[in-house]
């Protein structure tokens, strides 16, 4: 799996060759610095660790400063590992190497985007799990139009099953959207245009996997 780290810029729309309007998301992705290469002998698996976005040295723990010094680079905000990083470089990927957007993706590729979804706070079951609600406003429904209904039998099983869908914190969790098509790449601006939407707020970090 190849990939890169990016930042969500926002959404707009473009037209395809058939004149159809496509909603798309803009991402500023890379360049990322390779900070570690994991191999089978020492780590037991193959992976490449990428880092993205500058970070002030005074805000960086000493342990991390040492880690970035090894790769001969400045401290970075985000560090993400990609298992089995495939890229056609001679002799593979080296530590300290700069990985650019156009090294990983070409137009027409399909990618997965991982981000932290926008937090919605404590929400009821209608918003959180798509329950239908009660469905009637009359016939004795006073103030329970969006109630979940029964949560189980009273005498048997006489308990509530684990994992039963209830109200609670919604959003603000890791979310992945699969199979977004790469519509455009503008290398000089590190700009990536993908079809559809991507989880998270504007300026949030997005991991892009191929």
């Amino acid at each position: 799996m190849s990939g890169i780290i990016g930042k969500k810029i926002g959404m707009t729309s473009i037209y395809d060759e058939n004149g159809r309007n496509i909603a798309c998301t803009l991402l500023e992705a890379g360049p990322c610095i390779v900070t570690q290469v994991r191999n089978e002998e020492t780590d037991g698996y193959k992976a490449v660790q990428l880092s993205f976005e500058e970070r002030k040295e005074k805000n960086t723990p000493n342990a991390l400063i040492g880690h970035f010094k090894k790769a001969a680079t400045t401290p970075k905000k985000h560090v993400v590992e990609f298992r089995d990083f495939r890229m056609e470089f001679e002799g593979g990927v080296k530590i300290g190497q700069e990985i650019k957007l156009e090294d990983v993706f070409i137009v027409g590729d399909y990618l997965d985007a991982i981000g932290i979804s926008k937090g919605k706070g404590f929400q009821g079951v209608v918003k959180r799990h798509g329950f239908g609600g009660v469905g009637q406003a009359t016939h004795g429904q006073h103030n329970r139009l969006r109630a979940p209904g029964s949560i189980g039998g009273a005498s048997y099983p006489a308990r509530v099953f684990k994992g039963l869908r209830m109200a609670g914190q919604t959003g603000n969790r890791r979310a992945k959207v699969v199979n977004l098509r790469v519509l455009q790449i503008i290398p000089e601006k590190n700009l990536l245009v993908v079809s559809g939407s991507v989880p998270g707020a504007i300026n949030s970090t997005i991991i892009l996997e191929k």
Partner: protein
């Protein structure tokens, strides 16, 4: 809006600058490309512009109203769409508002718009 979004929007709107400037109240003739199987033909839609929405963005649209065999028809065109061949302005209207929703219920004499000279 971010510069990068503006960059993409400008690329999408390249054709828009070729169209003449028009606003609500103007009478326009829109040439629309229509694909039927492999054949392509041009259809014209002539009427009064009721409004322009989201100006300056890639998603800008404009609404045109015409009376087709006695029935009022509104058609919304995305201005940046490649299916629009050209837009002709036939008449400049003198109106005092940006959105002419009041025209929807009117017909005949009441639906006239003064020409801007």
């Amino acid at each position: 809006m971010s510069d990068l979004i503006q960059l993409i929007d400008t690329n999408t709107r390249t054709k828009v600058s070729e169209y003449p400037a028009f606003k609500s109240g103007d009478t326009v003739n829109v040439h629309v490309r229509i694909r039927e199987g492999n054949k392509e033909r041009i259809q014209q839609f002539q009427g009064v512009v009721l409004q322009r929405k989201n100006p300056g963005t890639a998603g800008e649209t404009f609404t045109v109203r015409k009376i087709s065999s006695g029935i009022g028809v509104h058609r919304i065109f995305p201005i940046a769409s490649p299916n629009i061949d050209k837009i002709e302005v036939l008449r400049r209207g003198k109106v005092r508002r940006a959105r002419l929703n009041y025209l929807k219920g009117l017909q005949g004499k009441a639906a006239r718009i003064k020409e801007k000279l």
